[in-house]
Symmetry: C2
Subunit: 140 residues, 2 copies
DNA sequence: TATTAAATCTGTAATGATTACAAATATGAA
DNA sequence: TTCATATTTGTAATCATTACAGATTTAATA
């Protein structure tokens, strides 16, 4: 999958988001790092390439992007929010040993069918995840 | 469901947890408040009845209890941990308007069947939740 | 009962992620 | 250029949680 800056620029413009340099950088980072990174991880790499980058800008940008539905916030560790450029509803696996978060492909009826309510509550998002020990940590 | 102190005392002793007064209070609170409360909520009520109660003790107790599998930590808001005395795997609904967390009864294959792995990762816990607008907030 | 070591509880300080805020900078129209 | 607006930046504040050390309780032993 090729995701150059021009692609990302179009993506933002179509969603009504002004494609500033900082926003393009964050988007590019997310496209290239599909490991559900933290703000810290994003900032640490971007500030190397763009020394003026502020951590507050990373926070602001991610809040904007998630509000517009361009990125997803993943809150399964309880200690920090992690970010996902993949906005299609999918499930995750959190390793209790190494802390990595993986995408997993499980077929849950609620993810595939478009349910609109449960127990009278209006559903807008569906989240599912597993916790345990990841493949890598099992074999080492 | 009647859950008096004697019941709770037995429950803790069976799990090898010394049933101190503070621990019994936390357990009793959780049994009587099935709304997935925060540490703050638990502490605020307990300190009224037990003026010497420390918030640190609430934290310590909940960490002990969740480590022993007596209570469940729910990390779906991203801002604070919420606690559940119901340790059977079940799903939740978080209302984006009022912040309440409800239990929901959905039949997901992964909750009922006992899968041990997914994509090579060893599964220890299964979590699922929805976000949206709750029944109460819809009709008001 | 008195002694005493271990466990538990408590209050305060520290940590770490996130947000608030105001000044600096960039953008873009007139 | 001028000026208003949007964006970015750095710092301070907030808030949940954890670390830690002293106080208290527990329970075993003499
Ligand atoms: Mn993902
Ligand atoms: Mn529950
Ligand atoms: Zn792992
Ligand atoms: Zn609600």
């Amino acid at each position: 999958m090729i995701t150059n800056m021009k692609h990302i620029k179009n993506e933002l413009e179509q969603k009504g988001i002004k494609p500033t340099y900082q926003r393009l950088c964050v988007m590019e980072y997310l496209h290239e790092h599909l490991v559900h990174p933290t703000v810290e991880m994003i900032y640490d790499e971007l500030v190397d390439r763009v020394p003026t980058m502020s951590k507050t800008t990373v926070y602001n940008t991610l809040k904007l992007l998630s509000g517009k539905g361009v990125v997803n916030e993943i809150t399964i560790t309880g200690t920090e929010v992690r970010y996902d450029i993949n906005c299609q509803s999918h499930h995750h696996f959190l390793c209790k040993k190494c802390g990595k978060i993986y995408d997993v492909d499980v077929t849950c009826p609620f993810v595939n069918m478009d349910h609109k309510e449960v127990s009278g509550h209006e559903i807008q998002e569906i989240h599912g995840y597993f916790k345990g020990v990841c493949k890598g940590c099992l074999t080492s």
